[in-house]
Amino acid sequence: MEAVLYLMYATLASSLIVPAIASREEVGARPVIAISLAGVTAYLVGSLLLVAEAQGTIVEYYDGLVVHDSFSAMMTLSAGVVAAVALLAAAREPALWTTHPAYYSLLPMSLFGVFFLAGAMDALVVLAAWMLVSVISYVIIALPDDKESSKAAVRYIYVGAVATLLLGLWVASQAVAAADLGIQPLGLAPAMEGTASGLAASLILAALGFKLGLVPFHWWLPSVYSRAHGRAVALVAGPVKIGFIALLTRIIYQASQQPFGFETLAGGTLLAGVLAVASIATMTYGNIAALTPRNVQAILAYSSIAHVGYILAGLAALAYLNTVDPGLASLALAGIVIQSLAYGLSKAPLFSLAPEAGQDLDDWRGLAGSSRATSVGVAVLLLSLLGVPPLLGFWGKLYIFIAAASYSMLLVLIALVNSGVSSAYYIRVMREVLTGSREEGIISDELKAAIVLASLLTIALGLLAPALLSLI
């Protein structure tokens, strides 16, 4: 139990060592990457231990400030896996940036933050972890040398500041409700009723909605995701986002478990209703907006919004089922884990590919010619996003939709239609990748390895997905 914490500290340590070493001029990028990799490895081992420990029980750290259960442990692990893939993909090109030590340093540090985000059981811990991870995100986006990145980062920071303000308000509301600035369990404080709980709910939804790209708090996202450097986006859209999904899920879970607050007003379904409406708006918006751009990074950005929409459907189901049918509620949780992992496994390598292959759809044409394994891997990742069985993405959607079906068939129907619509742009990208041929290979071997690894994981975990259920 303590071992997990020490490994997390090791992760943090690796991110602190990197700048120290890199400041010495004679040191190249290789040792830096190695240390970063060591940090990620420590994190992976730690989260694996965490998953093992959290089976069937709850693991408390810091006197219950950070609490991990099987769900949050799996989310922690998922973030680590995705980060590892992103690091592998980034093992060459970012090393050429003048700022590269920061990249390799912040990557493990963001994972350290995710451990707290996913496990936070107190509003103040949420605030602290939020600040840590948010600032890391801003910096990562700003790191690359190009001008677009700086512009995107400024945009991100501005909107993020307002979101942080709202989060602060939420923390305050929790404290006010409890008449105490001490440790408050997550969710909604017991004393909070009616107006206050509604206020708190909208504040946290607006704040986390900003992070996840939930419509109508998503405005910054397409711009940042499509204009910032793909490798930076890979981290923000991958491991970091998984951490925030875990946090939102815990808050929804806690809120929907209380016999007061939301439930006293709407029989336990109002929260689910709000989430369902947000889910429909988000997935529909993302899928439709993704239909026509020719910029691959823009397509991926909108499709990220759509995927958050699917996860919100799972959250809506969770909010409804939590007190009604705990068995199905855990299926919704499993769906959220698998969907998040599948999403991250696909998105991290694909975003990483954009800077190397080019942002325009035409640039992606004929990847098959340069590397067959890469193009097949890209196709697998796209198909997983689309939800084609037996890939991992299929199971995530399946479990979410099964759970959601007992809440609202209409929601599932709309989600299915949305999945169908999404095939239009995924297949469009896939067709470009698989047809035509390129003369020379322009993709680094490390990125190729990351794509192949991610697609193999997507296939293997997809085949094992039903077995994964018992872990969550």
Partner: protein
């Protein structure tokens, strides 16, 4: 009513009656795949396997008519989930049928050896003939409806393949006058076209048979014929209680109506004449078209017995059904006879005549049900056997007529009788055969055709439905007229047109033999009608659901004399008009508008074919066009409208993202405030 007792026996050897030709066909298929094109092998295997079937059928018939019905079935279920066995059921009815089918098949296959000599499709021909005989025997001998259906479809496939035998569609194999149109629709048919017509027309009915079988299974839980007989009262009663007995039976009978070319399904049989003539003789005169009649004769007694036992409602509903069938039979008999009057294609005359005579058999089967309703069960069952007797006598003389036609068409090298003439001078035996078989068709005593038709008319009178009876009587007169016209035109009048056929001469013995034997049989069966009716009566006694001896002696009464008088009168008139007065009918037709309208109406088959094409083919064309319209609209929707909308939607959603930070901030704060406000208002 005593059910004929039977002991269940092993599947073999009796099932070889239908298995043998199937085995023969299988061997031929293997030989063909193996690459053998030895003509002798093909007709040899075919003849041997059909002969084997005939011999087994004969032995079986001897045993059955000796008082011992045969029920041979394989142990265990064939299809366990619907409890269907694989078995051969031979009672009086099927024994007689199998005997007729197998021996006629053998004689016609023998004739084919010479007829098809040198034909490029000989191997295919003998394969399908053999396959056909197996299927036909299966229809007759099957112990359950599923097996019957398999045989039924087998005959249909063979019929299809053989009608289209000359699928290269040379004009000499067509039916109808090339270029002739009625109501704008072509009235000439190529073999490949005719084959498709045949399979389409009969398939409509077959769906009915299949649906009917399924409903019967769902109602009574069995489709095994002996069990259907035992439970007749139960299932007839159950269906009658729901009020669906007549409609179900009609659906069930659709297959029979289609197969036996009864109105409104008769069109396919006419154009089926594009097949080789032995095929017309075997499939489209002697056997397959009789499958529908056999079906009626098989089920009429079951329905009668069941309805009588099931009570008044069932009886009344059965009466409706039988009345409709009798009506269809009578209409077909009359309609087809009128067409035969004016036709100038030898095989078409015979085809019309076949459908017409099949109508008589349907009248007999249906009259049985009507008579039973009036309470005379013995007369009713006799009527069923009258149908069988007409079936047998017709099979014999019509096969003979077709085989003769095959030779005559070969001699004239033309299918129209206009180019035939004075053949009596050149081929005495053929002329003799034609006269014998023709007079039997005309129904002149003492030919077999006279007795069997007389019986049918007698029971039509007993049934007491006026229009049916009078159509049957008038048809008898018309039959005599067209038969005599045909004989005189071919044998005793000079040809109307110059042909370029061979010098007329007698047929090869292998071809002459079969039709001479059959022609002689038609008079011998008539002369020995006492014995024949005795055998049929014995068969009735041993038939499921009949089980008692019936009288098939013609009772000479008022109506009999009227019919004989009518037949003689019409023959006399025709003989006078053609031989003595030498009236030029075609001249009259070409001069008089009224005469031409009547002639064209009959010659173009009452315009029914054209109406079918206009309504169905034309109708489907319109449906297809409208579907195409719908299709192109959907196409437009998918390929233009939806992408356009999606593009517009996507563009609209993305215009909000203008890449300006202040703009994003404003939107974020605006929507956050809005959400706060909304939720606050709601929760307040």
């Amino acid at each position: 009513m005593v059910e004929p007792g039977y002991v269940v026996e092993g599947f073999l050897p009796w099932s070889l009656a239908w298995l043998a030709p199937y085995i023969g066909a299988f061997i031929l298929a293997l030989a063909y795949i193996a690459g053998s094109r030895n003509d002798k092998l093909y007709w040899g295997v075919s003849l041997v396997s059909i002969l084997a079937s005939a011999i087994i059928s004969t032995i079986a018939a001897a045993r059955v008519l000796g008082g011992e019905p045969i029920y041979a079935k394989a142990s265990g279920y064939w299809f366990p989930w619907i409890k269907v066995t694989l078995g051969t059921y031979i009672d009086g009815l099927s024994a007689v049928m199998a005997l007729v089918v197998s021996w006629l098949s053998f004689l016609i296959a023998l004739y084919s050896v010479k007829y098809m000599e040198g034909d490029w499709g000989l191997h295919r021909y003998f394969f399908f003939i053999t396959f056909f005989v197996g299927s036909m025997q299966l229809v007759v001998l099957a112990d359950n409806l599923l097996l019957l259906f398999i045989g039924w479809e087998g005959t249909g496939i063979a019929s299809y393949a053989l009608i289209g035998h000359w699928y290269t569609d040379e004009e000499e194999y067509w039916v109808g006058v090339p270029g002739r149109r009625a109501l704008g629709q072509p009235m000439y048919f190529e073999p490949s076209h005719s084959a498709v017509r045949a399979i389409l027309f009969t398939r409509i009915g077959d769906i009915g048979l299949l649906v009917g079988t399924a409903i019967i299974y769902l109602t009574v839980g069995t489709i095994t014929i002996p069990e259907l007989v035992q439970n007749a009262a139960a299932w007839i009663g159950a269906l009658a209680a729901k009020g669906i007995l007549p409609s179900l039976l009609l659906i069930f009978t659709l297959g029979a109506l289609g197969k036996s070319a009864q109105f409104p399904f008769h069109e396919w049989l006419v154009t089926a004449m594009t097949g080789p003539t032995p095929v017309s003789a075997l499939i489209h005169a002697a056997t397959m078209v009789k499958a529908g009649v056999y079906f009626i004769l098989r089920f009429a007694p079951i329905i009668i017995v069941g309805a009588l036992a099931a009570g008044e409602a069932a009886k009344a509903q059965a009466l409706d059904y039988f009345t409709i069938v009798a009506g269809l039979g009578a209409v077909t008999a009359f309609m087809m006879a009128t067409m035969a009057l004016v036709s100038n294609e030898l095989k078409l005359i015979l085809a019309y005549s076949t459908a017409s005579q099949l109508g008589y058999m349907f009248i007999a089967g249906a009259a049985a049900g009507i008579i039973a309703y009036h309470g005379e069960l013995e007369a009713a069952l006799s009527s069923v056997m009258a149908g069988l007797s007409h079936l047998v006598s017709h099979a014999v003389f019509k096969a003979s007529l077709f085989l003769i036609a095959g030779w005559l068409i070969h001699v004239a090298h033309n299918r129209f009788i206009d180019t035939m003439g004075n053949y009596a001078k050149y081929m005495k035996l053929t002329a003799f055969s034609l006269w014998l078989a023709g007079l039997s068709l005309a129904g002149l005593p003492p030919f077999s055709g006279f007795f069997s038709k007389e019986l049918v008319i007698y029971y039509a009178e007993e049934a007491g439905i006026g229009p049916v009876l009078w159509l049957a009587v008038i048809t008898a007169g018309l039959t005599a007229a067209y038969t005599l016209r045909m004989i005189i035109r071919i044998l005793h009048l000079p040809p109307r047109e110059e042909g370029h056929g061979h010098e007329p001469h007698e047929a090869h013995p292998i071809m002459l033999g079969p039709y001479l034997v059959l022609a002689l049989a038609s008079i011998i069966l008539g002369l020995a009608w006492g014995q024949v009716s005795g055998v049929l009566s014995k068969a009735a006694q041993l038939t499921a659901a009949i089980g008692e001896a019936v009288s098939l002696q013609v009772k000479f009464a008022g109506l009999t004399y009227i019919v004989i008088g009518l037949v003689l009168a019409s023959m006399g008139v025709v003989g006078f008009l053609y031989m003595a007065a030498r009236v030029d009918f075609m001249g009259i037709v070409s001069r008089s508008t009224a005469a031409r309208m009547i002639h064209d109406f009959l010659y173009d088959r009452w315009y029914i074919n054209s109406i079918y094409y206009i309504v169905f083919v034309g109708g489907f064309t319109y449906i297809m066009l409208s579907l195409q319209l719908v299709d192109s609209l959907i196409d437009l929707l998918y390929h233009s409208a939806i992408p356009l909308l999606a593009a517009l939607g996507a563009a609209a959603l993305r215009t909000l993202h203008r890449g300006r930070t202040d703009y994003y901030l404003t939107l974020y704060i605006y929507f956050a405030s809005l959400a706060l406000l909304l939720i606050y208002l709601y929760w307040r």
